[in-house]
């Protein structure tokens, strides 16, 4: 029987199929963080049960941590309590924690791949919707709620109905100044913010396989912004080269054996997908969003669409953003630039920004924050001299965490201000109450930081 890559991994992990119900699916790796785990640990305590396989769960503190003075006690009382609770729970239940100030601490979806915890063919879950990121390695990875976090802690399994499969092929070669972020923002603008709901996506085509692992992670990361639980890419030499020698990947002969197994992870040529999309890389230009969901995006040289008769939701969205239908986006003055998050807070993102801003100065009207995705990214940026270049250009370099992507900590964009952000969500209030977020690539963000307004990165590189 022909199978998709998704089917192969899924079928390999079904412990039991419940009649007329969900499957009991075995989970290889469970990542947890301070915000969506305390109630799950409390549930275990209430039942008086241990973590079933503590060695398969890895914890870090990322969502609710400050990005300055991480060596000092956390000032916000509730945040401190929550982060302390994670430490306490991990100690009590025997879970490995990469907490604040640990050299491996960072955004959960940055550290998993970086440490080689994420591997092809695995099932990976986390109480965070951007768990889809790990699909870049040819893994089934998806976000779950806290009740499900408790299930995985208690039994290393989860109850899930098998999703439908979607294939998104992007053929051709990306143009100059067009990056992985633009590819995924383009896909979402075509598929819509709900078009992927009920599906698991496989990305394919030359424009996808031509991306680095970090680029692939950016694409898979935003699968959830189409409503899809996850997205994956068949592992190939790029994947194996990335994984080789990482802390938790098999070493030596075991690695070669693993590569042999991983090489079988692809969709059979006759495999059936319930839905397919084909896009051409040459149609993709640098993208930016203008609305309050990630599907409301356009090429940067485009205009805010005129929606004939606007429905209430679109009207509310544009009003919130302070934009008029038909308005040009190029030239729009911006107040903040945020580079970071599990979407674009990796070393290649920082390199790209540094390369562009080297020898330049940020515009006076711009506050620019750059937040590395992990301690390891931070260290690498220092070693490569990237940090110095960014600081010289007027960027504030913060310490690792989710930061202004969801603004749980003090990194909030003020009311009414415009932020060009490399993160993943432009929802109302996402980056702070009243904040106006426009999602774009790190390259575009860098260009905007220097110009002080929206510019086409292709015009300035």
């Amino acid at each position: 029987m022909t199978k998709t890559l998704f089917d192969k991994i899924w079928d390999d992990h079904v412990v039991k199929q419940i009649e007329n119900g969900p499957s009991v699916v075995y989970i290889d790796r469970h990542l947890i963080h301070e915000v969506t785990s305390p109630q799950a640990f409390a549930g275990l305590e209430k039942r008086g049960i241990p973590v079933f396989r503590p060695e398969n769960t890895i914890a870090t503190a990322d969502h609710n941590v400050p990005t300055i003075d991480q060596h000092l006690p956390i000032k916000d009382k509730l945040s401190k309590f929550q982060v302390d609770k994670l430490t306490e729970n991990c100690e009590k239940f025997g879970v490995t924690l990469y907490g604040l100030n640990h050299p491996y601490q960072g955004i959960v979806h940055v550290i998993g791949p970086q440490l080689g915890i994420t591997q092809p063919g695995m099932t990976i879950v986390c109480g965070d919707s951007h768990t889809s990121t790990h699909g870049a390695f040819g893994a089934i990875a998806f976000g779950i709620g806290t009740s499900e976090v408790e299930m995985v802690l208690a039994t290393q399994c989860i109850m899930q109905s098998k999703p439908k499969k979607m294939k998104i092929t992007v053929g051709g070669k990306l143009g100059k100044g067009v990056t992985a972020k633009d590819v995924v923002l383009y896909i979402i603008s075509q598929v819509s913010t709900s078009g992927g709901t009920g599906y698991f996506i496989e990305y394919a085509g030359k424009a996808i396989t031509g991306l680095t692992m970090e680029g692939r992670m950016t694409v898979c990361n935003m699968s959830i912004e189409m409503g899809a639980r996850g997205g994956l890419i068949a592992p190939d030499q790029t994947t194996f080269d990335y994984l080789k020698g990482r802390e938790f990947t098999p070493q030596g002969a075991s690695f070669d054996k693993a590569v042999e197994n991983w090489s079988n992870l692809y969709s059979d040529s006759e495999a059936v997908f319930e839905k397919e999309f084909h896009f051409d890389a040459t149609d993709i230009e640098p993208m930016i969003t203008y609305g309050t969901n990630p599907g409301m995006g356009t090429k940067i040289t485009g205009k805010v669409p005129s929606y004939g008769e606007m429905n209430k939701s679109v009207e509310k969205s544009l009003k919130y953003m302070g934009l008029e239908p038909g308005e040009d986006l190029i030239g729009k003055e911006i107040d903040y630039v945020f580079v970071g998050s599990c979407t674009n807070g990796r070393i290649e993102d920082l390199r790209e920004v540094a390369k562009f801003v080297e020898g330049k100065q940020k515009a006076e009207n711009i506050t620019a924050w750059i937040v590395p995705g992990s301690k390891q990214v931070e260290k690498q940026a220092q070693e490569e001299g990237i940090s110095k270049i960014l600081e010289k250009a007027g960027f504030q370099l913060r310490q690792p965490g989710c930061s202004a992507c969801l603004a749980m900590n003090d990194d909030k964009i003020p009311q009414g201000k415009y932020a060009v952000s490399t993160s993943n969500r432009n929802f109302e209030g996402r980056q702070g109450p009243g904040a106006r977020t426009m999602l774009a690539s790190p390259l575009t963000a860098a260009a905007v930081a220097i110009a002080g307004k929206i510019v086409d990165p292709r015009e300035v590189i």
Binding site: Y26, V35, D128, C157
Partner: protein
């Protein structure tokens, strides 16, 4: 965590005719610092419900005393975005037992079912009709019967039947907890692990 058996209900409904209501609207991230499951209802739709200075936004539906009830009716693609279960907790904690929409985001749907909150999906046309009914009469009452999977629209002699996974339905009706189910499978899970080595 099971919340006890899901009971049939007859209730007025509160309309929120917006599409793509994401979980950041349902419960903004800055209110996710709690370590228990209780009390999130206070901040449900916080930034739509209150001004920055804490004053209620008068024209937001939860602040309109002419609307009340245990049913929330919302536009399509309700609950998109973040996986935060706090969104389902907040809706439940506020007092809702049912959310009606023409489309739900996946993770939100699962989270709701795991917390005794029924995500009741109807067609786009039926949703328009339901909004119209509430608009005409804020006191109109709907009847939800889970066992027969029916939603009765009052005064029209119309019954809408809705889909729900049979297993999830059993769980809701009996107040079963999926974790208990999985815990009973532990030896099968251990055997599965052995078979993969």
């Amino acid at each position: 965590m099971a919340r006890g058996k899901f009971k049939n209900l007859v209730s007025t409904a509160i309309p929120l005719p917006m599409e793509n209501v994401d979980t950041d609207q349902i419960i903004p991230a800055r209110f996710l610092k709690a370590t228990s499951r209780e009390g999130f209802g206070e901040n449900l739709f916080r930034d739509w419900r209150y001004e920055a200075n804490g004053q209620p936004v008068n024209d937001f539906v939860l602040n309109d005393p002419s609307f009340s009830g245990e049913i929330l009716v919302a536009g399509k693609n309700f609950g998109s975005g973040s996986s935060r279960e706090h969104a389902a907790w907040a809706i439940y904690d506020y007092g809702f037992k049912v959310v009606i929409s023409s489309f739900f985001a996946d993770i939100f749907k699962n989270n709701s079912l795991n917390n005794g909150l029924l995500p009741l999906q109807v067609s786009d046309e039926d949703l328009v009709e339901i909004f119209a009914l509430i608009d005409t009469d804020h006191q109109v009452e709907f009847e939800v019967t889970l066992a027969s999977q029916s939603l009765i629209l009052p005064g029209m002699g119309k019954t809408i039947s809705f889909d729900i996974n049979p297993y999830k339905k059993e769980c809701l009706l009996n107040g079963y907890d999926e974790i208990d189910y999985l815990l009973n499978l532990k030896s099968e899970i251990a055997a599965f692990e052995q078979s993969r080595v």
